[in-house]
Every structure is written in C-alpha cells, then in structure tokens.
C-alpha cells in the first residue's frame, strides 16, 4: 500500500486566541477526488495554506506527497497544482500566451508540453482566441490547464465550477475524473453542494473542526438517519409552525412550494393527521431523499 498523498495529524492553527483550524485529522490517497466543504471562515483556506506550506501550523503535522509541508514546502509546491477562482488570467492574451506565460513561471519552456496541456483540457483549436472572448466554463478550463502545466501529482481546486450550468460543470468534472484515473489526486474546496456531490469523499468543516469525512452516500446514511418527507400543504406557513412544534420532528424547512421534514420517528400518517386536525389542508406527502445540504445543515447545528 502506498503512502497517503495527504496525511494530516492534529493539524492546528491559531491566530491569537482564535483557533482557525482545530486538531484536524485526515488522509487522502492517490487518485482520490476529495471535497472539503464549509462556509467562509470555517478554516478551509487556512488548511490549504498550511498544506501548501504558506503558513506554519501551530500544532500537529501534515505531509503532502511524503514531504513535510512546513520543513519541505518548496518540494511540496513544485509538485502540486492550484486552481483558484480569483486566479489572474490575462484577458488581453490568447489562451496559448497565458499558458506559455504561466508555464514559464514553473520553468516549463517545452512547447510540446504546452500544446499537450491545451489538448488535455479541450482547448485545441482555440490557441489564438483572446481569453476575454471565452465563456466562463472555458475560462475555468484554461485555469485548470495553467494548474496542470507542470504535471502535478496533486491538484488543489478552489470552487472550480462556480457560476456555470450543469452541462459545463459536468464536462469539467469528466476531465477531473480522467486525471484521477491517471493517478492525479484532487482536493476540492467549495461551499456549493452542486460541486460537493461530484467528490468521492467529502469532508465537512465548521468553526475550524472537521466534523465528518466520508462518501456522499455514507454521509447521507450516517447523518440523516431518519426519513425525509416532502409535505405539500396549504397554508404552508401555518404547516411550518405546526410541524416545527411537533414532537419527534428534527428539522422542518420551507422548500419552495412544500415543506421538507426530517424525522426518525414521525411517519407520513402522523404528519397527515396532525396537520388535518389543525385545519391545514394536505395535498400530498411524499418520501424524499436526503441531500448533502441536509447533511450539512444537520452537522452545522
């Protein structure tokens, strides 16, 4: 069994009294696509900065590709790629010029490598297109190409597909899965559920703590142990208040034209009869499926 690509033990970072990252532990293996989900300020970026060797841990340790992130940070940075939403692509340069420029930063001067990287992300034929003429989805591919040009073994992606529709998102992820099949390990930070669903395992961060890390399926099963009910009723607002007070209901929320209820004990019939008794008209109650958002909201409580 090979060593984990990312190994994190009791990793902690304090800023004064504030504990940004609080004794987190996890491992990521070669070829895995792992998501790191959490709100702004939950410690996602601080974790990444420590893994990239840009910030010293206050406590604990981490290795990336076998190198100590603090003592051997140059070794780490030479072998990882980083794609950020805020990454600067030069709008007035063509795709080829942008990639050549950033390749140069990593010491890549081999023209074949540049063209191969463009081909990998599907930008062949658009070498001479100005970056400002690319749609969002394709700009993201160019950012990916820039992160890939030095052939890293580990890729950090920060909200790689925010703002694109499912078709573009899917095309992007198909590319990521291909890279993973080729042995590249991918670590994705995001606060979008749509993105987290694409990861093989997802870690949930909150207030500096890693609350859970597992496959989306296992997270849904282990965190949402009750049933999910979709309740269509009128008036909705009144239904919300009644179910909010109902014994055994763990969570109830408005979901557009219906209520979403999560409960271990309460079944369809009980919901139906209580609402009817309180003069709320029930159109139908359907069994729903837990989502990653349910998981997040349950853990964040």
């Amino acid at each position: 069994m090979s060593l984990p690509v990312i190994y994190v033990e009791n990793l902690t970072r304090r800023f004064g009294d504030f504990v940004a990252v609080d004794h987190i532990n996890f491992e990521v293996n070669e070829g895995e696509v792992v998501g790191y989900l959490g709100p702004n300020g939950s410690g996602k970026t601080t974790t990444i900065r420590m893994l990239l060797g840009l910030l010293a841990p206050s406590e604990g340790e981490a290795t990336v590709l076998g190198y100590d992130v603090h003592r051997q940070s140059e070794e780490v940075r030479a072998r990882v790629g980083y794609m950020s939403q805020k990454f600067a692509i030069y709008d007035d340069l063509t795709t080829l010029e942008n990639l050549t420029f950033y390749g140069g930063v990593y010491g890549i001067t081999d023209k074949t490598r540049i063209t191969q990287t463009l081909e990998l992300v599907g930008l062949t034929g658009h070498e001479h297109t100005l970056t400002k003429d690319l749609s969002t989805g394709w700009r993201q591919r160019l950012s990916l190409a820039i992160a890939l040009v030095h052939q890293p073994k580990l890729l950090f992606l920060d909200e790689p597909t925010s703002g694109v529709d499912p078709t573009a998102r899917r095309a992007f992820w198909d590319l990521i899965y291909e890279l993973a099949e080729g042995g590249v390990t991918v670590f994705v930070t995001t606060h979008y559920m749509d993105e987290a669903e694409y990861c093989e395992r997802v870690g949930v961060m909150r207030d500096g703590k890693l609350l859970a890390m597992d496959t989306p399926t296992n997270l849904k099963r282990s965190v949402i142990t009750g049933d999910v009910w979709e309740v269509f009723a009128h008036p909705l607002e009144q239904g919300l208040e009644i179910l909010h007070e109902m014994d055994g209901v763990e969570r109830v929320g408005l979901a557009g034209d219906h209520l979403r209820v999560i409960s271990q004990k309460v079944k369809k019939e009980a919901l139906q009869s209580l609402l009817s008794r309180k003069k709320v008209q029930v159109e139908k109650i359907e069994k729903g499926e837990p989502t990653l958002e349910d998981v997040f909201l349950a853990l964040a409580r």
Partner: protein, 334 residues
C-alpha cells in the same frame, strides 16, 4: 382569473454580435417564486435588467403589475424591489441609516419610513443590529440588509439577481426561508394605508446557476444562450425523467462507467463522485436493471447497489442540453 405581475413577450437584446437575450417570454403569477436558471452568460442578468427597465430591449414588451415598463416607467418601477448581484451599502452608516437612505430615495415619507423599516428589519432578523455600522456585518447579515432595503418600499415584485452567490449553505437556507415566507404571507407586505381587506400578493424572480436553489422555486425557466429552453415546476421538470434514472454504486468506477455506456438502452452516464447516474431510454429501466449487474461482474467489476432513483434537476438540465445541443458545447461566448 390569474393575476400576472410580470408579463414579458418576445424580449430580445443584442450587444454587438452577442445575442444576450433572444426571444424571451415570461409570465409570473401573483404569489409565485420564479427561478431563471442558467450559467454565467446565459442571459439571466440581461433579462432581469430588461424587466426592470434598466436596459432598452431591441424588441419585445414588458408589463409589470399592468404598467408598461417603457411607457409607464415610474408606476411600474414603484412596484419593483431589486437586489442586484453587487449590492452596495454605506459601510459607515448603521443598518437603520442604510434602510432609511433607501426608503427616502424611493419616496417614503418621514412618518412612514421608521415603522416600515423596523417591521422589515424584524422580518429579516436584523432588528437587534439596527445601530451596528453596515461595515461590521457578517456576509449573511449583509445579504439580509440587502433584502430589507429592497423590501422597504413594499414592492409587489422582488427581483433577486444571484442573491446567494458566495454565501454558505446555512446562510442560504436562512435567506430562502425569508423569501418563501414573503410570498407565503402577503399580509407582511401590505400597506396599512390601503383599504383592501385582501392583502396584495408578492412575486419573486430569482436568478441562479445552482440546481439546489432552482429546486426551491415554484416554477423554473432553464436559460441557455439567451433563450428559455424549458419552463415548468421543479416537480414536473423532474417527472419528465421519471423511471429513467438509475443510480449505480460500486467499483472500480471506470469499469462501471464503461460497461454502462455499452448498454444499448443507456442514453447517458454521469459520474457523481461515489456513484453514477444512468439515464435510460423510455420504458427500458427494467431491461437495464436486469442485465447491468451481471455485465459488470463478468468483467471483474463489483456492484454495491443498482436501483431506480428519483431524477434530480441536474439530470433534467443535462438531458435538455443534449437535445438542444447534440454537439459539444462551444467554447466561445454565445
């Protein structure tokens, strides 16, 4: 009789060679939350700007609450609340002072603005923070202040342009609960000065690229290249694919994907991290369910679970895009 707060027909707007909006018609009923769903550049923001009269259409008409946005601009605008993507507030002013500013700009009198501001701050949960400078609010609280400012004039139509971009799931949930409550209890928005015993209903148009948000709307229009390519309730949209989505979990994923693709009844295979969503031809789920497991096992793959799964909006959007654009998506802006 259905009361439409928005009636837009044949909207078109080109910027040079860019066909930002290409024949959009849109009707939004009183009490409805309508989602304009699509990627950046699909035409969502341009559509919203045409609806509020911030842009002149090349063709088409817009009526808001019965007023033509170009001919009766003042009346139409007085019924609109608009929260743009980049909502700006005065960082040095307090929460209440910010609201007051928006209220007075929109013509609320000195006797009106305070009670209304307090009512709306209480609704969004910022009443306890009314004296805090806006610059010291958290991201979620800023969002709520933006919403409060848009609501202070009691608009009948609320337009929200990607209001939860960059906001974490807990805050988004809170924000959505407010929006849904707003349309569910119109009394909140009715003015005590009107003599109508029937409170006036509010409608919301919200734009988003995210499917989890789309699923909370009453009705959704999927936008692509300046057009609405499908429009219906989330439930009806999903039901278009009822019985045609299978969920497969197992290992290794590349074998699962490969074998699923080979099945003649399989239209599409989408990887979702730890599982695959397989779209099958109409009426062929049984055939695929009956054969796929053994096909995978015969080449050394392992199946943990294969089942029929309820379709999600993401499945629907992708299926629609396949029909509309058989070829690969074009890399250039359309």
């Amino acid at each position: 009789m259905t009361n439409y707060l928005v009636q837009a027909t044949g909207l078109q707007k080109h910027f040079g060679n860019t066909r930002a909006v290409e024949g959009v018609s849109l009707n939004v009923k009183e009490g409805e939350i309508y989602g304009l769903v699509g990627s950046d550049g699909a035409g969502k923001t341009t559509t919203i700007r045409l609806l509020v009269g911030a842009l002149l259409p090349d063709a088409g008409e817009v009526e808001i609450c019965g007023y033509n946005i170009l001919k009766q601009t003042e009346q139409a605008r007085s019924t609109i609340g608009y929260l743009s993507q980049r909502f700006s507030m005065y960082e040095e002013l307090t929460v209440l002072e910010n609201i007051r500013f928006f209220a007075e700009v929109r013509g609320l009198s000195s006797t009106e603005w305070l009670p209304r501001s307090m009512e709306i701050l209480e609704f969004v949960g910022l009443d306890k923070f009314k004296d805090r400078p806006a610059g010291q609010l958290s991201g979620g609280m800023r969002q709520k202040l933006g919403l409060a400012s848009a609501l202070v004039t009691r608009p009948r139509l609320l337009l929200l342009d990607e209001p939860t971009t960059g906001v974490d799931p807990v805050t988004r949930q809170d924000f959505w609960q407010l929006v849904i409550k707003l349309v569910a209890q119109p009394a909140l928005n009715s003015s005590p000065a009107t003599h109508n015993s029937q409170p006036e209903g509010v409608s919301v148009i919200i734009s988003t690229p995210y499917m989890d948000e789309a699923s909370r709307c009453h009705r959704v229009g999927f936008m692509k290249s300046g057009r609405i390519i499908a429009e219906d309730t989330p439930t009806n949209l999903r039901s278009r694919l009822n019985g045609r989505i299978l969920e497969l979990r197992g290992s290794p994923l590349d074998i699962l994907r490969h074998i699923a693709h080979q099945n003649e009844y399989v239209e599409d295979v989408q990887a979702f991290g730890d599982r695959l969503h397989i779209r099958v031809q109409e009426g062929r789920a049984k055939d695929v369910l009956g054969r796929l497991k053994s096909d995978i096992e015969s080449v050394g793959g392992h199946v943990d679970e294969l089942r029929s799964a309820p379709p999600v909006l993401e499945d629907v959007f992708i299926a629609l895009s396949d029909h509309e654009y058989a070829s690969a998506p074009h890399p250039l802006k359309t």
